[in-house]
Symmetry: C2
Subunit: 213 residues, 2 copies
DNA sequence: TATTTTTAAGGGGAAAACCCCTTTTTTAGT
DNA sequence: ACTAAAAAAGGGGTTTTCCCCTTAAAAATA
């Protein structure tokens, strides 16, 4: 019987080993190897190591995250299907992964059986999506797009500093700008991010991983 | 050969099932059942279900978290050893768990062999601690204590609302208090949390999981 | 019972944040 | 070469935040 090959990418060794053991109990699948981050996967793929049929991908990883890695796989190894495995259920994260080209998106609180089912579907049809993920995809296509907010480099830099206890005056000094220019960035960010005050900026930046605590 | 019993507490079903499968491969251990959160464990323990020798505990859980659950176990079932399994490596979180009475603290990026070793040590001696965790414990005992900040209920409530885009005036209305009273809470929190402004309060609250994004 | 802590509220003032507006230069896209 | 967007700076004003300091009742603790 033909077996499908799987590679697991997750920075938490214990979890990837545990998932590996679990996937190996599915008789249609076999795990080739595991990677601690996206960079490791890129290295292995580039050196013509065994290319798997499916990649089981975590999203929050250091060095090279799940979104970047999935984009790279879609470009360079389009035959490889990516199944995202994440704790995050936020719309914009899921949408990012869908755009990057994942074949499926599972939350880490799904059942063992669902994982097996998803792997089988992906191996056979190239994709598996739950109702909730499909709904998000629909909304996105029907124009209700979760708008990708584009902030400029300077705005981003200012936004990060706004998450510290510095006053705008001190931020101006650090960025070698007039407090009035800083006021412009503050104002444009309020509009772009749709927030009312500095607290809104801070929570936005943390939520969207622009600033890390 | 005598086997030790294990219960796993983790809100991510897939992970707890995977860890369960892994622990079951250790021939000295057997998993009795899993719980999605602390409340579920308290329910089962209270209804005189099988009480295990060891509890494998995640920290970030909804409803009842790892710290609260460990404290409850220490009080009501002191014979049960708790092995914490977390992604967090922040000092104050580890110290909180140590104070709550864990027998061990492992990061989720440890090896399978280390988990088995830790379980064996705990089963035999009642505790297992890595060098890094021991160092934190030492610093704590030698007076360099990571000070436990005690905020009152009202301060906590105000702190949470400060993380939203409400003005202090609006927070005062919501809490049915004079803006001047709110000003008192703000001021006392600035001192207690050692912050300079509202941004400092917000980042503190998020860091310490008083406010969830 | 006495003491400390918490909760509640106020007066007054300085600093920072917020919100309009306009202008100029530089940079990037069609 | 033209247009749009981004970067930089200022004028002038309101609101909010921040920081003292004082008083007093209620609640927890010794």
């Amino acid at each position: 019987m033909k077996q499908f090959t799987v590679v697991i990418v997750d920075d938490h060794t214990l979890l990837s080993q545990a998932i590996q053991a679990m996937v190996n109990t599915f008789n249609k699948f076999v795990v080739l190897y595991t990677c601690k981050n996206g960079q490791e996967l890129v290295d292995k793929f580039s050196h013509q190591e065994n290319i798997p049929n499916i990649v089981l991908m975590d999203i929050n990883m250091p060095i090279m995250n799940g979104v970047e890695t999935t984009e790279w796989i879609s470009k360079n190894h389009s035959k490889v299907n990516v199944l995202a495995l994440s704790v995050e259920d936020e719309e914009f994260t899921i949408l990012k992964m869908l755009k990057a080209g994942v074949a499926g998106y599972l939350l880490k609180d799904t059942e063992k059986d669902v994982l097996e089912k998803a792997l089988i579907e992906i191996a056979e049809n190239g994709f598996y999506h739950t109702k909730s993920v499909t709904t998000i995809l629909m909304n996105s296509l029907s124009g209700n797009e979760v708008k990708e907010i584009d902030i400029t480099d300077k705005e981003r830099q200012f936004l990060k500093l706004s998450c510290t206890e510095l006053t705008y005056k001190e931020i101006a000094d650090q960025m070698c700008l007039s407090p009035k220019t800083i006021d412009n960035y503050r104002n444009s960010l309020f509009c772009k991010l749709n927030v009312k005050n500095r607290v809104g900026m801070v929570t936005y930046a943390i939520k969207n991983k622009i600033y890390t605590l």
